[in-house]
């Protein structure tokens, strides 16, 4: 073995990309989204042969609904966790909100198209989050919000109709199904292509991205890191601790309120009676005098 084998090739040099909490969030999202898809799509297309087969395999429609709702609870908990970590980075760490869309993103889209089609040799240099990732992130935010709201309405139709017109229930069902289809197909086309098919992007599991992928997708971030920039800025400890104290108190209070809200939402109503009551009828009541 020579020393060259111990050196990482230049192309494969790893750059930090995701911290642990982001990867936990992704894992929660990945599991709950997959379960929601597997249990949800057959409900949307319940009477298709493949859907009926899936429902049957998973133990019948009522059980599929139970799994779907548990997965929804996990997704909502994951979303709340994400809100807290985001808030932590925003209020405590005071990080830049690099996920927000910018004008440059639009320019990057156009330049990417031009570059792909061969009109220009120059690929756009993109920052930590490129336009494709921002689209996907905000699609998840938007989608989760829609799914959670419409899901709540479908879960608690009686509570919902105390405030909303009745028609919101079937409308919520339509939106829940439409948004689900949009999300699943987007993941299948966009996410699968970009991080699995084009090349496998390991950063959500290892936290690191190899140089050649950094170069292609995050050239600006690569330049910044190579110029000695911190992947994530560290704060002076006294400042951090002071902010953390406030944050954790507020987070605990808000967290408890949110959890209570969650329990309230998920156990809000008994939508329908469990069993249709049996009507007892006297069946044999013969006529006293036979009719013609």
């Amino acid at each position: 073995m020579t020393s060259t084998t111990q050196e990482v090739p230049h192309d494969e040099k790893q750059y930090p990309r995701f911290r642990t909490m982001a990867r936990i969030e992704h894992a929660i999202l990945m599991v709950s989204f997959t379960v929601l898809t597997i249990t949800g799509l057959p409900q949307k297309y319940a009477l298709q042969a493949w859907a009926e087969w899936m429902i049957n395999v998973m133990g019948g429609i009522e059980f599929v609904r139970v799994i779907h709702r548990w997965a929804a609870i996990i997704l909502v908990i994951g979303s709340i966790y994400h809100l807290f970590t985001s808030a932590y980075r925003f209020f405590v760490k005071r990080e830049r909100m690099r996920m927000l869309p910018e004008k440059k993103d639009l320019q990057d889209v156009i330049q990417t198209i031009k570059h792909n089609l061969g009109f220009t040799d120059e690929a756009p240099k993109m920052a930590k989050f490129n336009f494709g990732e921002k689209v996907e992130y905000w699609a998840v935010v938007w989608g989760t919000a829609i799914m959670a709201l419409t899901g709540f309405v479908l879960w608690n139709p009686i509570a919902a109709t105390v405030l909303l017109p009745g028609q919101f229930i079937p409308a919520a069902k339509a939106a829940h199904g439409g948004e689900a289809l949009l999300a699943v197909l987007s993941i299948v086309i966009w996410h699968m292509y970009n991080v699995h098919i084009k090349h496998f992007n390991p950063s959500m599991f290892t936290g690191m991205l190899p140089r050649h992928q950094m170069e292609e997708e995050h050239a600006l971030e690569l330049e910044r890191l190579e110029a000695g920039g911190d992947p994530w800025p560290e704060l002076a400890l006294p400042v951090l601790h002071q902010r953390q104290r406030i944050f954790f108190i507020v987070a605990a209070v808000v967290g408890i309120l949110l959890l209570a809200g969650l329990v309230w939402a998920f156990t809000f109503e008994q939508t329908a009676i469990e069993t249709i009551p049996r009507v007892t009828r006297e069946v044999f009541v013969p006529l006293s005098t036979p009719s013609p």
Partner: protein, 555 residues
């Protein structure tokens, strides 16, 4: 009975035997006989019942008690050339063929032989030498002697022959003979027919009710397959009843016209049925009835229908009525309860007859049905399209409507008509109702259960949970229609539902700008957004692939 007589004979001798005989003759047959009201023209031949056997026996014992044997009679009458001479100049041979007598119903070969003096009483007339006959003519003698038959044969005889009240009565001996009386078995096997033909064919005696009797006489009274008119000779008589041990009274009178007009009668596509096609083992005299009540009798008889209607009969054994009977609920319907026994009409003509038939037992449910949109149309205008009871419940394979299976399958039942475009067009009823139901939460769930777990209860509504079961009204019925009572209807299953809740049901409308516009717009939104988004992603992916392929080709 026999023991009793023997005991008393030890003490009271013949006097008590006479009493026993009278009891046996007058009391026992009335207990056993199911048809006390028959007015027969001539009384003679007794039905062979246990009671009557006893009666004959009793007479025999009486005769033997008084007369040691017939040896004295036989000594002369077995071999004589003497004639009995009547004042009219008529003569009759005094010779008796002892072999024939011995083989007759009254002879030594019979189980209960009758002594000469049992019939030829009083004995003094036969003391040797015999006094001259008191009768002026042979015919007068025959009639007088025939009256002796009634000493034993008190049961009414089914015949329309003129009796003693007539100017020209027919005597027992005219048909049955005197010393050569045929046994019941011989009559049943067809012997003795010549007795009929002697008069009605060879001597050309006119038959009063020729239409009823000619065939009988020609075919023989006791042939294997008797003619309907033979049975109807009795069973068309008014007031014929049978009282069961439990007090039930069964009307035995059969309306011959109704029988002939029934599906089994002259109109039968196969051939008119004879009484014996169903009652195949019934002979006259009838076997005693063994059951206690009219219901037991019906249950005993109805399997006869299965001999021809095997499929339907077998179905009923498995259906809800058959199961109820098997569980001991004997009032559950059998064939004859719905179809009748002898006056079976065409069961679905007119159509409302079907539901009226069910009403016989299910009157309260019928009353509800009668007020429904279906029932009203059926009963008032004999509507050919609305369901009668059997369209939903089935006919001979009626299933238990209280099972989960029945409930889960019920939407299919409604859909048979309500998804039929041609049928619904006549009444301007939307056929979207089934599809929209299945597309909705309730219908989807119920359909999945139907496909996967049809025997499991589900709390999701089926058609009749909202629309009612038997008392289904038109949706816009101002009082009882579902539109007027939607919230109450929802609250049956959703007790906490409030005023807005019913609108969450799309009322069987496919979403459009007119009905459920919000749903329509949401669907429209996704019909645009999904292809647009995916189109953008797809375009970006396609250009990326294009670049990579181009780079690779370039090397």
């Amino acid at each position: 009975m026999e023991q009793l007589i023997n005991k008393r004979r030890m003490v009271w001798g013949g006097v008590c035997a006479v009493l026993a005989c009278l009891v046996a003759i007058y009391v026992l047959p009335t207990l056993a006989a199911p048809e006390p009201d028959i007015t027969a023209v001539i009384q003679s031949h007794p039905p062979i019942t246990d009671a009557n056997q006893t009666a004959v026996l009793a007479v025999n014992q009486l005769a033997h008690a008084q007369i040691a044997d017939d040896t004295a009679c036989r000594l002369c009458h077995s071999d004589t050339e003497e004639n009995v001479v009547f004042p009219s100049g008529e003569t009759v041979s005094a010779q008796i063929d002892l072999a024939v007598l011995a083989n007759s119903a009254h002879g030594d070969a019979a189980s209960d032989p009758v002594a000469c003096s049992s019939c030829h009483q009083p004995i003094n007339n036969y003391q040797q030498p015999h006094v001259p006959v008191s009768a002026d003519t042979l015919r007068e003698y025959e009639l007088t002697q025939s009256a002796n038959c009634q000493t034993c044969h008190v049961q009414p005889h089914i015949t329309s022959h003129p009796g003693p009240e007539s100017e020209n009565p027919v005597a027992c001996t005219d048909c049955h003979g005197s010393h050569d009386v045929l046994t019941v078995e011989e009559w049943q096997s067809g012997a003795g027919t010549e007795a009929c033909t002697d008069c009605h064919v060879e001597q050309d005696v006119p038959i009063v009710e020729a239409s009823q009797l000619t065939e009988i006489i020609q075919a023989g009274l006791f042939t294997q397959q008797v003619d309907n008119s033979y049975c109807l000779a009795c069973h068309s008589q008014e007031g014929l009843t049978y009282t069961f041990p439990n007090g039930d009274t069964l009307n035995l009178t059969i309306d011959a016209n109704a029988l002939h007009d029934s599906v089994h009668g002259d109109g039968n596509s196969w051939q008119p049925l004879a009484c014996t096609d169903c009652h195949e083992d019934v002979r006259f005299p009838h076997e005693p009835v063994t059951v206690e009540s009219e219901r037991e009798y019906n249950l005993q008889q109805y399997p006869l229908c299965g001999r021809c209607h095997e499929t339907n009969y077998d179905h009923t054994l498995d259906d809800v009525h058959g199961a109820a009977i098997a569980e001991g609920e004997l009032e559950a319907a059998v064939c004859t309860d719905c179809h009748g026994a002898h006056d079976t009409p065409i069961p679905n003509e007119p159509r409302e007859r079907i539901s009226y038939t069910c009403e016989q037992c299910h009157s309260t449910i019928f009353d509800e049905y009668a007020t429904s949109v279906h029932g009203e149309a059926l009963l008032s205008e004999s509507n050919p399209d609305v369901p009668t009871c059997i369209n939903c419940h089935g006919v001979h394979n009626i299933s238990d409507p209280t099972t989960a299976l029945f409930r889960i399958r019920s939407p299919q039942l409604c859909a048979e008509c309500h998804a039929d475009v041609e049928l619904m067009e006549k009444y301007e009823i939307s056929t979207d109702v089934f599809d929209t139901y299945v597309a909705d939460f309730h219908g989807t769930t119920v359909t999945l259960f139907e496909h996967q777990d049809p025997n499991v209860e589900t709390n999701k509504a089926v058609c009749y949970d909202c629309h009612g079961v038997h008392a289904i009204k038109a949706p816009d019925d101002p009082e009882a229609g579902i539109k007027a009572n939607l919230l109450e209807t929802c609250q049956q299953c959703h007790p906490d539902a409030t005023a807005n809740f019913p609108d969450s049901w799309t009322s069987h409308f496919k979403p459009s700008l007119q009905n459920n516009p919000l749903v329509y717009l949401v669907n429209l939104f996704y019909q645009i957004v999904i292809p647009a988004t995916l189109g953008f992603f797809g375009f970006m992916v396609a250009t990326d692939i294009y670049r990579r392929v181009r780079l690779r080709l370039r090397g």
